[in-house]
């Protein structure tokens, strides 16, 4: 008899998947039920929102371009105020 395991299938870039696997390892494998292939994995249903939040946090930390953009916007606004 086969087993049916309840969970959420995630399809993503291999780069995103490796970040998810790192988060999973740092939390004693609490998120991932099964590592399927380069771009697919199954995670605990109750942990999906938590995982999305942690992934967003991680991406914010590692993509500094966004910060630089907002800085430049602020500079423009400040200049306008100065006039």
């Amino acid at each position: 008899m086969p087993r049916a395991i309840r969970g959420v299938l995630i399809e993503c870039d291999p780069s995103i998947k490796s970040i998810i696997m790192n988060i999973n390892e740092s939390e004693a494998n609490a998120y991932v039920i099964e590592d399927l292939d380069d771009s697919h994995l199954v995670v605990q249903e109750s942990k999906v929102q938590d995982l999305k939040r942690r992934l967003d946090d991680h991406l914010k930390e590692t993509i500094p371009e966004i910060d630089r953009d907002s800085d430049s916007d602020r500079d423009v606004k400040q200049d306008k105020k100065g006039w």
Partner: protein
């Protein structure tokens, strides 16, 4: 249209998610193939790997796939 929604999801959320069930640990390859083929035919299959003998179906597809597995087992027992 489904593909477009999926691409849009990937772009905005960086990942596409599907609630459902992972099927694994089939007795043999023949049993696996018959069940995964059924799941594909009724349109609930989301992912498969024939080498690993595993597949993932949507949440809504469970009852039909489960019934199919049960019936297959009954047939197997009756055949013996």
């Amino acid at each position: 249209i489904v593909d477009q929604i999926r691409l849009w999801q990937l772009d905005t959320e960086r990942m596409a998610t599907t609630n459902g069930f992972l099927f694994k640990e089939f007795d043999d390859y023949k049993e696996y193939i018959s069940v995964v083929t059924f799941a594909d035919e009724i349109g609930v299959l989301q992912w498969r790997n024939d080498r690993k003998g595993m597949f993932f179906i949507t949440y809504a597809g469970l009852s039909q796939v489960k019934d199919f597995v049960k019936n297959k087992n009954k047939e197997k027992k009756a055949g013996k």
